[in-house]
Symmetry: C2
């Protein structure tokens, strides 16, 4: 049994405090977030696959490897500390070290993360002053402020919490995340920080997180770009005193709940994609292999021609089929069928059953599902994408300057 | 020695006639083109790799396989005859057959091609009436009209001709082509019809065309989509009585000239890409393998974030490096350097030498080159792309309706 909190954030989880403040990295808005667990937590992470990896990722990956427990995650927005060379790496280490010292933790018990502009030196002094200021601000309701402080071009802050009933009692999953350009599988400029008060051993926690991310954050796309800084972190601090054990029924329940939680977060990122006006679920059915199912879903989700048609509320199934045909997947286009929600648009043998008026009623909605049945096998995959609007261009043509 | 004609088209080639007329497939503009060789010509073609292949492609591929010579290419715009099933295939055959009969040729001596909207039945009666009308319109200056008749969202028609001096005398290469959405390697919705009056054996002609296309049409991208209808066709009718033979010096000269010709055509397609305001040459140097060089060039050329930065005239080298990092190519980002024309922007070890004012002077131009040196090997590759402007969205959000 699962239950989403109407309100909720990462601080809905027992033993988790957070804060978000303005430290002068951005011009005006909050730009420094701290998440703190009152108890040592096991930690897991997934990171961008971009060859260009920002300094804070290298530092956090190293910490996760070395340390059995983590107690804090420090995040700044406004500067990605990416492509900053040796100085950037030194700054990232200094950020971690200073925060650890002030929290009276070991250096590797603090994870760090940065998001924002690439190739600009991190203003480390501002961050240190910010650390001095943020630690006394930590509260049990501070998740919302932390969610605000990690935003870049996001229009809304993103906080979620959810209760999961396990055999040993109730646990909470809470988290904050941000998008919203460069969103593409394998961690695009998106950050998600999730905590739970369940007790979960470190390797098992990584397995749970990887499993959940595979079917959520790794199946969303805004513009096909993958950033240098993306990470998802999951902390489990055991404060609820409810264990999740290997190969148990609770494990399955928790994995399902965590996946659902990550899908909610992932969809919130897509629907707040730069310039997005639609959230479209792309459901691929009947692929020959999982690889094919994902290739077709990805090709459709990333096609600028498909995404501009979504924007124009145009029932352009030809672009959808053509994008599928470009994916490299094995299928016979003559066998394919396409649906918008439950409305059939194309049936096998190019039987075009599109009713323009009925299709329009679906396409004007803010959320709908495009289903493509390939009739090539038994594998399905569901992705989430948004439309491509003129605002995407406006936002991105002048982001840096 | 090569020389581009100031004016010129496919009909600049000896023995080639052409025409372009309005046959009622589009609402107003010319929509039917015919290219006719007075002498039987050897023919070669390259076709889209999309799994979804339009009926005319299937018909033309079959004809190229079966027939030793070709004398005509019939092309309509306004309707792609793609995703039209068995009826579409029958219509394509009928289009070819009727044209051949009227020209007193064998059916497989006529190639056909279609471009336009997908999934709408071909108006075959209009095309047949059009064939009756276009044949008497064929002239030795009709290449320009033919170029107009194959346009879809192109803003300008595209005609080129070029003289090549070979040991046996002078030959001409002439051609027409069209873009301009869905432009992406492996034949995007782009059509190019090229003729030469050199005498070239069929298999050698295919080798020449494939070699030229590989380094021209297959290295351009407008939006990363690849269409269902794309083809490049090359006819050689021998009217100049100058042979190009295997393993000869002339072969090398002709291949170089044909490649240069195709690059000019390909660049004209990119610079007329939907909504494009910039033509950017993406030069990758020092890749480990050819595959890597192309992967990096493609990733940069297709990245919406890079392309919107080009549009905004923003020296956002971070997005360029990040796109390279997403390509899957093997390289160390810390060793990479980036140039805009001859101006260094990023030197190895993340040494940012960007002079914003000098960079702006380059970025405001309509044409410039971005060079990325990976320092990972000895392979180079040059691609061409355009920027992503708000007009791209406007054009594509409502193309079909």
């Amino acid at each position: 049994m699962q239950h989403f909190h109407k309100e909720g954030s990462i601080t809905s989880v027992k033993g988790i405090k957070a804060a978000g403040i303005f430290a002068g990295i951005k011009k005006k808005r909050k730009d420094l977030a701290l998440i703190y667990s009152e108890y040592p937590a096991t930690a897991a992470g997934t990171f961008t696959l971009n060859k260009v990896q920002a300094a804070p990722l290298l530092v956090s990956k190293e910490a996760l490897k070395k340390s059995s427990h983590v107690q804090a995650v420090l995040v700044n927005s406004g500067n990605a500390n990416a492509c900053t060379g040796e100085q950037g790496y030194a700054d990232a280490l200094e950020m971690q070290k200073y925060c650890a010292k002030k929290l009276k933790l070991k250096q590797d018990e603090v994870l760090i993360s940065s998001t924002g502009v690439i190739g600009v030196k991190l203003p480390i002094e501002k961050i240190k002053t910010g650390i001095d200021e943020i630690i006394p601000s930590l509260t049990h309701g501070g998740g919302y402020d932390a969610a605000k402080a990690i935003m870049t071009t996001d229009l809304t802050s993103k906080s979620y919490a959810k209760t999961v009933h396990l055999s040993g009692g109730e646990v909470t999953i809470g988290g904050i995340c941000k998008g919203s350009g460069m969103i593409m599988p394998n961690m695009a400029t998106m950050l998600a920080f999730i905590a739970t008060d369940a007790s979960i051993e470190k390797n098992l926690l990584q397995k749970l997180l990887s499993g959940a991310v595979k079917n959520s954050f790794n199946k969303i796309t805004v513009d096909g770009d993958t950033s240098t800084n993306d990470m998802v972190v999951l902390l489990a601090n055991g404060a609820a005193n409810v264990p999740v054990k290997k190969d148990s029924e609770d494990y399955k329940t928790f994995l399902a709940a965590l996946t659902k939680f990550c899908i909610v977060m992932a969809k919130s990122i897509v629907s707040d994609g730069e310039g997005a006006t639609k959230l479209v679920t792309v459901a691929i059915k009947g692929a020959k292999t999982e690889e094919d199912a994902n290739a077709v879903a990805k090709a459709i989700s990333n096609s600028p021609l498909v995404k501009t048609a979504f924007c124009g509320e145009d029932a352009n199934w030809g672009r959808i089929l053509s994008a599928a045909g470009n994916s490299g997947a094995e299928f016979d286009p003559a066998k394919a069928s396409i649906y918008f929600d439950d409305l059939a648009i194309l049936k096998p043998n190019y039987d075009i059953v599109l009713d323009e008026k009925a299709a329009k009623e679906i396409l004007i909605k803010k959320e709908y599902t495009v289903t493509v049945n390939l009739e090539a096998g038994k594998t399905d995959s569901t992705w989430w994408t948004c439309d491509f609007s003129e605002n995407y261009i406006k936002i991105n043509a002048n982001y840096r300057t």
